[in-house]
C-alpha cells in the first residue's frame, strides 16, 4: 500500500515512507476471533514481509459450537496460532489487535499495555465508560499507543467531506443525519448478547457515525436523546437487545444530528448494510455513502440482486496508518480518547432509553 493513498485525515499519515527492507518486521498479535473483522485483519497481515503475525483465541471455547473459532479458524486463514494470550505476549509483540467480545476488550488491552505492546482495539472501545478510562490510563502509563478501530474514518469519501468542511464550503454546520444500518449480526452470537456486546444496535452502530462527527466538528456532544424498539427480529430468541434506534445528538457548537443505528437491512439484501452521513451547512449539503460504490444488477436468472462493491478497503487503510504510526512513533488516530468520547455518546443514549427518552446532558 502506497502512503499516497492515505486519506489526508490524519496528520501523522502523510509522507511516511514504507518500511525499508533493513527494518525488523513488526510483531503483530491478533487477539481473539470473536469479532468478524479479525479475519479481515489476518488476511491483510499474514502475507506482508514487514509483519510477523501470531494469533490467539482462548475464549473460543465459550462460543457456540457451530461457530468456527480458535485453532481451526486460524488454520482456515493460514495464520500461526497459540493457545493462550500469555503465550502471545511471551512472544513479544510490538502490536496487538484486540478483536475480543466488546465486554472483554478491557482485560486484553490491560494485558497488552503491561506487555508493552501498542494496541489497536475493535470498536466500541469498551462496553462501559469506566472500562475505557482504565484502558486509556493503562496505555498512557505503559507509554504505548491505543487506537480505536473506526475504519470509515479512512474512507476517501469522508476525506472529501472533511476537506469541504475544513475549507468552509459548507459554511456553518447546522447538523445532519447519519445512518448505520445493517443486517442483524449473524455468525457470531455474542453480537446480540447485551452482556458481551454492551447492548444491541445502539452499542453496535452509533459509534461509527459519532466518530466521524467527532472528527468533523472537533466538538464534544453535549446532549443525547434516544428511542429504541425491538420490532425488527422481535421474534428471534437469540436477539436480546434493541434492534432499532434513533439517537439525537447536540454538539457543543450547536449542530443537531440524528443517527439511525437500526439493524434494518433485511436478511435477503445483497450486502450487509452501510453507512451514510449527510451534513447540512449554511453553504449547502454534502452526503457521503462510503460503502455505496458498486456495480449492481440482477443475476441468477433475475432471482438475486447483484452488489459488486468497489469502495476502498478501509480495513487496509486503517491498518496501514496504525502500523506506520507504530514504526515512526507518531500518534495514531482515532485514539483511545476518541473511542471514549464516542462511547460516552452511546452510554448517554442508553441512559436516555432507560429513562424513557429523557434528554441526557453530558458533562464536558
Amino acid at each position: 500500500m502506497n502512503s499516497t493513498t492515505q486519506p489526508a485525515v490524519v496528520p501523522s499519515a502523510d509522507a511516511t515512507p514504507d518500511a525499508t527492507p533493513d527494518e525488523a518486521p513488526l510483531r503483530v498479535a491478533v487477539l481473539s476471533f470473536a469479532h468478524v473483522h479479525a479475519a479481515s485483519y489476518v488476511r491483510l497481515l499474514r502475507d506482508r514481509p514487514d509483519v510477523e503475525l501470531i494469533t490467539a483465541d482462548p475464549d473460543a471455547a465459550t462460543s457456540p459450537a457451530d461457530e468456527v473459532r480458535g485453532r481451526p479458524f486460524a488454520e482456515q486463514l493460514g495464520a500461526p496460532y497459540v493457545d493462550t494470550y500469555a503465550e502471545a505476549f511471551a512472544w513479544g509483540p510490538d502490536v496487538v489487535i484486540v478483536c475480543s467480545e466488546n465486554a472483554r476488550h478491557r482485560d486484553v488491552v490491560l494485558a497488552a499495555a503491561e506487555a508493552g505492546a501498542h494496541v489497536l482495539c475493535e470498536k466500541p472501545l469498551a462496553t462501559r465508560v469506566d472500562d475505557a478510562e482504565a484502558m486509556i490510563a493503562a496505555c498512557d502509563a505503559a507509554g504505548v499507543q491505543l487506537m480505536t478501530a473506526y475504519p470509515v474514518r479512512f474512507s476517501p469519501e469522508f476525506a472529501t467531506l472533511r476537506g469541504l468542511v475544513d475549507a468552509g464550503a459548507l459554511g456553518t454546520v447546522l447538523g445532519g443525519t447519519g445512518t448505520n444500518n445493517g443486517k442483524v449480526p449473524a455468525g457470531r452470537a455474542w453480537f446480540t448478547d447485551p452482556e458481551l456486546a454492551g447492548g444491541g444496535a445502539l452499542a453496535d452502530h452509533v459509534v461509527h457515525v459519532a466518530d466521524l462527527l467527532d472528527a468533523l466538528l472537533g466538538e464534544d456532544a453535549v446532549a443525547v436523546r434516544a428511542v429504541t424498539n425491538r420490532v425488527l427480529h422481535g421474534d428471534d430468541p437469540r436477539v436480546r437487545a434493541e434492534t432499532g434506534g434513533l439517537v439525537s445528538i447536540t454538539y457543543a457548537g450547536g449542530a443537531e444530528v440524528t443517527v439511525d443505528c437500526s439493524w434494518s437491512v433485511p436478511d435477503g439484501a445483497p450486502t450487509w448494510g452501510g453507512l451514510t452521513l449527510q451534513v447540512v451547512g449554511t453553504g449547502g449539503t454534502v452526503e457521503i455513502d462510503p460503502f455505496g460504490a458498486r456495480v449492481d444488477g440482477l443475476v441468477a436468472g433475475g432471482t438475486q440482486q447483484a452488489w459488486l462493491g468497489f469502495g476502498a478497503n478501509l480495513d487496509a487503510l486503517m491498518l496501514e496508518h496504525f502500523l506506520d504510526c507504530v514504526r515512526t512513533g507518531a500518534t495514531p488516530g482515532p485514539d483511545g480518547r476518541t473511542g471514549l468520547r464516542t462511547l460516552r455518546v452511546v452510554a448517554a443514549a442508553q441512559e436516555s432509553v432507560a429513562t424513557g427518552g429523557a434528554v441526557v446532558r453530558l458533562a464536558s
Binding site: T177, G244, T282, G283, G284
Partner: protein, 375 residues
C-alpha cells in the same frame, strides 16, 4: 381532462365540473391549485390581497374584489393564504355555507384548527386540509404497500424534506405567523408518518437557526414514538438559496424496506445550467399528473357528492380529513414545545382523534391510495 370520479360511483353524483370555486390567495401555492381546478373544468374566481388579476388572467378565472363578493358566487372556497389567516378566511367561508379546502397547516394552532372543525360541523359543510403529500404517488404507494403488509410491522422510519429558505414571502420567517420549518414544511411528513406508522405517543424535536450572509437557514429534527412501537425521524431544511427541493423516505419493517429519494427519481434526466437562486419551492412530480390535481380532484368529487358534510365512511370521503389536519398541527405544536423546552413531549393522538370526532386511521379505503398515479 375529463372529470372522471376518482372512485367507482354507487350512483352518479353531480359532476365536479359543475362546481363554482373561489380561490382566496394568489401566491406561490395558488399557482399549483389554479390549473388543477381548471383541469377539472370548474368555474374559478380569485380573490387576493395581491396577484389576483395575474393569476386569473393566466388560468381563465375571474377576479372578485372582496371576500364577500367571492363567497356570494361560489360553492367551494380554496384557502391558499398565509397560515395565520386560515382561521378567519375559512371560518367566513363555512359561515357562508361554502365547502372549504384549506392549505396545510389547516390552522396556525391546534386550538384554531379545532375551532375550524366546530365551524364546519355547525355549518354542516365539508372541510379538508391540503395535505398534498398523501397524493404524491410515491407516498401513496408506500402507504398502500405498508398497509398490505409488504414490509411487515413498521419499525424505524425516516423522512426528509427540504429546499431553499422561503424568502419569497416574509411571513414564512416569522414563527408567529408560520410556525417555522416544523409547522410549515415538516407537517407534511408528520402527517405521513402518522398515516403510515400509526398514532403518536411522544415527540422530541430540535431546531437550529443560523444566519449567514444576511440569509436565514434552519434545520430541524423531529423524532416520533408511535403507539404501535415504531419510531420515526423527520428532518426538515430551509437552506441555502441554491438548495434543490428534495424529499426522501426510508421505511423499515420486520419483513422489508421501502425507500424513495426524489433526487434521481423519475423518468427525466437533465443536464442544464443550475436553477438560479429563488427557483423552485416544491418538487416537480416524479411521474404522472400533478399531485395537486389528484388531490383537488378527490376533494372536488367529495364536494360534488353532497351539499352537506360527509361521514368518514362515505365512499367519496377523501383520504385525508379535517381531523387529520388538526392532529398534524397538534403533532407539530408538540414538536415546537419540545424545541422550546429541550425535553420530549408526551401526546396521545389516538385520544385526540376520538375527542375531535375523527375516524380511526385504518378506516379509510385502501383503494384510494394510488388514485391518479399512472403506476
Amino acid at each position: 381532462m375529463s372529470a372522471r370520479p376518482a372512485t367507482p360511483a354507487r350512483s352518479a353524483p353531480p359532476a365536479p365540473s359543475a362546481l363554482k370555486v373561489g380561490l382566496v390567495g394568489a401566491g406561490g401555492i395558488a399557482k399549483a391549485h389554479a390549473p388543477a381546478w381548471r383541469a377539472l373544468g370548474v368555474d374559478l374566481v380569485v380573490h387576493s390581497h395581491d396577484g389576483a388579476a395575474d393569476l386569473a388572467a393566466a388560468h381563465g378565472a375571474r377576479v372578485a374584489g372582496s371576500l364577500e363578493e367571492l363567497l356570494d358566487v361560489v360553492d367551494v372556497v380554496d384557502v391558499v393564504t398565509p397560515t395565520s389567516t386560515h382561521l378567519d378566511v375559512a371560518t367566513a367561508a363555512l359561515a357562508a355555507g361554502r365547502h372549504v379546502l384549506c392549505e396545510k397547516p389547516i390552522a396556525r394552532t391546534g386550538a384554531e384548527g379545532a375551532a375550524l372543525l366546530d365551524a364546519a360541523r355547525a355549518a354542516d359543510r365539508q372541510l379538508y386540509p391540503g395535505h398534498v403529500v398523501r397524493f404524491f404517488p410515491e407516498y401513496a404507494l408506500m402507504r398502500a404497500a405498508v398497509r398490505a403488509g409488504d414490509v411487515g410491522t413498521p419499525a424505524v422510519l425516516r423522512f426528509a424534506r427540504g429546499g431553499m429558505f422561503p424568502t419569497w414571502s416574509p411571513w414564512f420567517a416569522d414563527d408567529g405567523q408560520s410556525g417555522g420549518v416544523v409547522m410549515d414544511l415538516m407537517i407534511h411528513d408528520l402527517d405521513i408518518a402518522r398515516w403510515v406508522a400509526g398514532e403518536v405517543t411522544a415527540v422530541h424535536a430540535t431546531r437550529r437557526d443560523v444566519e449567514d450572509g444576511g440569509l436565514p437557514h434552519t434545520l430541524a429534527h423531529v423524532v416520533l414514538t408511535h403507539a404501535g412501537g415504531a419510531i420515526t425521524h423527520v428532518r426538515g431544511l430551509w437552506g441555502a438559496p441554491h438548495t434543490t427541493f428534495r424529499t426522501s423516505f426510508h421505511v423499515a419493517g420486520d419483513d422489508g424496506v421501502l425507500r424513495f429519494d426524489s433526487a434521481g427519481a423519475g423518468g427525466v434526466r437533465t443536464d442544464l445550467p443550475p436553477v438560479p437562486a429563488g427557483g423552485q419551492d416544491r418538487p416537480a412530480p416524479a411521474a404522472g399528473e400533478s399531485p395537486y390535481l389528484t388531490e383537488i380532484r378527490e376533494f372536488a368529487t367529495a364536494f360534488a357528492a353532497s351539499p352537506g358534510a360527509l361521514t368518514p365512511d362515505h365512499p367519496r370521503h377523501p383520504r385525508v380529513s379535517a381531523v387529520d389536519g388538526v392532529v398534524a398541527v397538534e403533532i407539530a405544536e408538540a414538536a415546537l414545545a419540545s424545541i422550546a423546552s429541550g425535553a420530549p413531549v408526551a401526546l396521545d393522538t389516538a385520544a385526540r382523534v376520538r375527542e375531535l370526532g375523527g375516524a380511526p386511521l385504518d378506516a379509510d379505503a385502501a383503494d384510494l391510495a394510488t388514485t391518479g398515479s399512472r403506476a
